[in-house]
Each structure stands twice: as structure tokens, then as C-alpha cells.
Subunit: 129 residues, 2 copies
């Protein structure tokens, strides 16, 4: 039996609102807002402007991490949502950000990170699932 | 003509040394060490222990971001290396970490994030490349 230790959603948000994704303070608010469904409190939240007038930042809690890098001149934002928890749904963060960034289209891929064999006779006895 | 705004390497390190990847202080040192080739200084470096006795953290500079989440009981580490720069090689961070974590095997995938059309007649006139 194979379980994944973590889920990771890789998102390309296209045709975002350039004014929104060019505002570092707003982006930080939105990314923090995107993980309020997580029961863990925010351990770290760091955002900075980029040389391209975009925003670059990461929010970390015990059970979810969201990173973003934006390019307002291309109306594009790269977002990564990573969770080692099997009790929270990372797609809630995706939905939230898609709406707040006003992305008109996007590409999103979910990866299963750390596919580990578990169960009787396996050397791996511990798993999140 | 199509250029990528950023490169992203997704790495699965297997059969790492559990003692190394279970040591949060050491992991922070290694991840910070992995990006010393970047000419930018570290803007943020945040690491914390996980409930599974692993390490969870991110280091951010203006031109590279490295995130890690480790599971010592599975000898596994999930690493993400993201760079908006076209002048630095993110694979240097991969090489460095593979050696320091003593990963016996791994899987690494490079993604081109934000594939943008550039050139004459394109609505997108700005690019990193």
C-alpha cells in the first residue's frame, strides 16, 4: 500500500489583476487569508517586493506552506501550496487565491510528495495517512 | 518565442541520513549553505521542527527560494528550489543538498514556471531572459 507524505499543488495563475498582484501588502493579506482554514497558527509570514514590481513571499504554518511570486507586467503569479496534513484540503487555498488575484485562467497540478510504502512487512511503518 | 519567468526544481530525496534530516539546526545550515552561490543575501530563513521529528523550513533571497520538509522515520526529504533568475543555476543547490543530506537516491524534475510569449507583436514585452 502506498501513501503520500504530503500533497503539493503547483499553480500558474494567468491574467491576474496586475494592480492586485503588484501590491505586496495585499498579496500578503491574501496568502494569509488563503490558509485561515488551517487549524494551525501562522509561524512565519515573509513578503518582499521584487525588482519587477511584483511580490515574493511565503507563509508557513505547521500543516501548510504557501509560496507566491508575481509578475504584474505579465499578469502572472506562480503559487505553490504544500501540505503534510491529510486532514486539510489544499485546494481551498487555491480557490481562495484564484478569486482574490482575479485570475482569468490557470493551470494547477497536484503532486503526491514522498510516496511511501506502508503496511505489514514494509520497512516503513509510519505514515500520515 | 517563449521564455520562462522562473525555474523550479522539485526534488524527492530518498534514503537520506535520518540523523541529519532530523536535526533542524543542521538542516537550516545546509539549506542556507546550498544558496551561498546566489549573489543575493538571505532575506528570510525560517525553520521549525515537525511533529514527526523532522524539519520544515524555507530560505528566501531576492533570486532563489528553497523549501524543505523532512521525515526522518522515512529517510525522506521533499525539497523545492525556485528561482526567477536566469543567471544562477538552481541545480547547484540540488547538488549541495543531495550530498549534505546523504541521499542515496532521488527524483528531480525541473519545471518552467510562467511560460510567456515575448518578442515583436506580443502583448508581453518584458521578460527575464
Amino acid at each position: 500500500m502506498v501513501h503520500a507524505l504530503a500533497k503539493h499543488i503547483i499553480v500558474e495563475f494567468y491574467n491576474c489583476n496586475p494592480q492586485i498582484i503588484g501590491d505586496v501588502v495585499l498579496i500578503q493579506q491574501h496568502v494569509e487569508g488563503a490558509i485561515t482554514f488551517s487549524t494551525s497558527s501562522i509561524e512565519e509570514s515573509f513578503f518582499q517586493p521584487t525588482p519587477e514590481n511584483g511580490a515574493n513571499g511565503t507563509v508557513i504554518t505547521a500543516d501548510i506552506r504557501v509560496s507566491i511570486h508575481t509578475w504584474p507586467s505579465h499578469s502572472y503569479a506562480a503559487v505553490d501550496i504544500f501540505t503534510p496534513s491529510n486532514t486539510i484540503d489544499p485546494w481551498l487555498a487555491y480557490d481562495y487565491l484564484k478569486e482574490r488575484l482575479e485570475a482569468q485562467y490557470d493551470s494547477a497540478t497536484e503532486l503526491r510528495r514522498g510516496q511511501i510504502k506502508v503496511g505489514q512487512g514494509s520497512p516503513f511503518q509510519r505514515s500520515f495517512l
